[in-house]
């Protein structure tokens, strides 16, 4: 799953992202998910629009707020829930959790807990495609907060001087946790990217059609050897920065700000466009919603029924090449 130009399919994917996150939030509340979860709710049009412009063999890197990117690139909800629940059947065998889900078969080089860290890795993957003569592209996702990370800005320069097939996808939701971009970022975000020699465009990130159109154009250019690009997607997160067992973080944004964001809801917007335009498949919107509901419940069931990793395996997977007595256990008797 990845490339698609079908609005109903985009709706299905956005609905999947939202229901996945709502269900994950419930499981955090119930204590079934142990670590923090950063909900993607409100930003669905960005991941879905970008990934619908990508082929299955293209690569993405993701962020702490990664579930949406992974689902949009084809990640399976059952193995994702299994990872969140710390199960051996999870994508990372329960070794990574929410902030680290990856599927290399789907070109998902992983969510990442360090802001900005995925971007240089996407450049390295893109370089590999380029020297091998493959027409694959790499898309690092990152937030507005990452725009102040040196490694990301260094990566802009690398992509430009090496003329790499990289599309930098900036999700500007206006905040880095509680800090507003207005107080944290000098100059303008897209102009900053332009300063590095990147063609830059600012796009309405609540409009999946606009996100897809801008992404498809940048991807097509990069694939044809036209080099990197920068896309800013203006979006909004509905929930607090993250949630974890034992409580929600406090949100310092006003009710008014949040209400304004919800009025631009990307899913309702697309649904309206489908209704007014090409129309739904037989069964209508409800049929898609029901299908997603069943899929999500089935995925949670799969995760719950999967075993947790055995304690004896705690030292596994750190190294590909191991040696006697290495890696060392924590004690000897």
């Amino acid at each position: 799953m990845s490339e698609s130009r079908d609005p109903v399919e985009w709706y299905r994917r956005m609905r999947r992202l939202r229901r996945f996150e709502m269900r994950a939030a419930e499981l955090v509340g119930d204590g079934e998910i142990n670590g923090p979860v950063h909900e993607y709710i409100g930003e669905e049009a960005v991941a879905v629009g970008v990934c619908a412009a990508l082929r299955a063999d293209d690569v993405i890197t993701s962020t702490h707020r990664g579930h949406g990117h992974i689902l949009a690139k084809g990640g399976a909800p059952d193995r994702m829930f299994a990872e969140l629940l710390g199960r051996e059947s999870g994508y990372n065998r329960g070794r990574g959790g929410s902030m680290h889900i990856a599927d290399f078969d789907l070109g998902i080089y992983g969510a990442n807990g360090i802001v900005g860290a995925g971007a240089p890795m996407a450049c390295g993957a893109a370089f590999t495609f380029k020297v091998r003569g493959e027409d694959r592209v790499a898309v690092p996702f990152f937030g507005d907060g990452a725009m102040n990370q040196g490694v990301l800005l260094e990566s802009f320069n690398l992509a430009v001087i090496l003329h790499l097939p990289v599309i930098f996808a900036c999700e500007n939701n206006g905040y880095a946790i509680t800090s507003s971009i207005r107080e944290m970022l000098g100059g303008d975000l897209a102009r900053r990217a332009e300063g590095f020699g990147l063609p830059a465009q600012s796009v309405d990130g609540m409009d999946v059609c606009a996100v897809h159109a801008a992404s498809a154009a940048a991807v097509e250019r990069a694939r044809a050897g036209g080099g990197p690009a920068f896309l800013e997607f203006r979006t909004a997160r509905y929930s607090v920065h993250n949630i974890a067992t034992g409580g929600r973080m406090r949100d310092n944004r006003s009710e008014e700000t949040l209400a304004q964001a919800r009025e631009r809801d990307p899913i309702e917007r697309l649904a309206g466009e489908i209704t007014r335009g090409a129309g739904w498949e037989p069964g209508g919107r409800d049929a898609v919603d029901d299908e997603i509901e069943r899929e999500i419940e089935g995925a949670v069931g799969f995760a719950r029924n999967s075993p947790r990793p055995r304690a004896e395996t705690a030292l596994d997977y750190m190294y590909a090449d191991t040696y006697p007595d290495f890696p060392a256990p924590g004690w000897e008797h």
Binding site: Y91, R93, D103, G110, P120, M121, G124, V151, D325, F326
Partner: protein, 322 residues
């Protein structure tokens, strides 16, 4: 076998690895144009797509190498000076070292970190005199510190073809050292130490450029009838625990020579290991000869005063052998 210098051996290893496997490529600052001896001639031989000059962006180019490694390449990342790995530490520690386990075995990161310009003694002052292997070991990065030209080649080849990140720390004081180097592409084995001089009285476990210092001290001590066994770990992580235990079982005495910080340093780890495993063999306290726990100062008398060398090693051995 022919004689090569240490840096020629590094160069030969890079050349052979790049010939053998076209997924091997090299990035670093100012590595093209043949100005640096370890990369001399490589860009002529392999072209600009396999020998890439990088902007002064250690964090990004290290991450770039990690990403290329995830995509199936075997990058060699050169840090022009060992302490220049610090600007890239997130990509080394949080990414290269940690991702494989967190990915649950889905992917490996066969990257080599080549740390040139390690060590003090050249009036380079605090920011250009580190021997930062302990930081790497602590992060779980496999780390090798070759002391001879043959090992410079064999361990470089091993590092490049290992499927995990490996750091190779090159001390500036060793670059001109000469020795026999095999012409073939044999890879050294990690976790395998070497006895550089056999002896029955005291084991000196010496790291990197302190191996020649230990051999010098051993020569002097032999004149007084003290027979030192110089044992070179070669690979600090993974470490040849059995090899060192065998030497200590024979001598019953251990001095550890490690030119890095004393507290929580590599010597402390070796001492802990031997105390735990070889207590019954020991006939005296374990001695550590390390740097003082301060930043390396510039002026020669104070720079030399805080660094371990043959004299300090000799004195440590004498206190144990007395």
């Amino acid at each position: 076998m022919r004689e090569l210098t240490y840096v020629q051996a590094l160069n030969e290893a890079l050349r052979q690895a790049m010939t053998e496997d076209d997924s091997v490529f090299m990035i670093g600052e100012n590595i093209r144009g043949g100005v640096r001896a370890e990369t001399a001639g490589l860009d002529d031989a392999f072209g600009p797509e396999r020998v890439l000059d990088m902007p002064i962006s250690e964090a990004a180019f290290t991450g770039f190498a990690n990403g290329a490694a995830l995509a199936g390449m075997r990058p060699v990342v050169e840090f022009q000076v060992a302490s220049l790995m610090f600007p890239a530490f997130d990509q080394i520690v949080n990414q290269a070292a940690k991702l494989p386990l967190m990915l649950g075995g889905q992917a490996h990161i066969p990257v080599t970190f080549l740390l040139m310009g390690a060590g003090a003694g050249g009036g380079r002052a605090g920011q250009h005199s580190d021997n930062p292997y302990t930081f790497l070991i602590h992060a779980g990065i496999k780390t090798v510190v070759p002391s001879t030209p043959a090992d410079a080649k064999g361990l470089m080849l091993a590092a490049i073809f290992e499927d995990d990140p490996v750091a190779l720390v090159v001390n500036s004081n060793l670059l001109g050292r000469t020795g026999d180097v095999p012409a073939g592409g044999e890879r050294a084995r990690l976790a395998k130490g070497a006895v550089r001089r056999a002896g029955k009285d005291v084991t000196v476990c010496a790291v990197g450029h302190l191996v020649p210092a230990a051999l010098e001290a051993a020569g002097r001590l032999a004149e007084d009838g003290i027979e030192v066994e110089v044992w070179d770990p070669r690979s600090l992580l993974p470490f040849d625990k059995e090899g060192l235990a065998a030497s200590v079982a024979k001598t019953g005495r251990l001095v550890i020579a490690d030119d890095s910080a004393r507290t929580c340093g590599f010597a402390a780890e070796v001492a802990g290991l031997v105390a735990e495993r070889c207590f019954d063999s020991l006939r005296g306290p374990i001695k550590r000869v390390t740097r003082a726990d301060v930043t390396v100062p510039y002026s020669t008398p104070i720079e030399q005063a805080m660094l371990p060398a043959a004299d300090e090693l000799e004195a440590a051995v004498r206190t144990l052998a007395a």
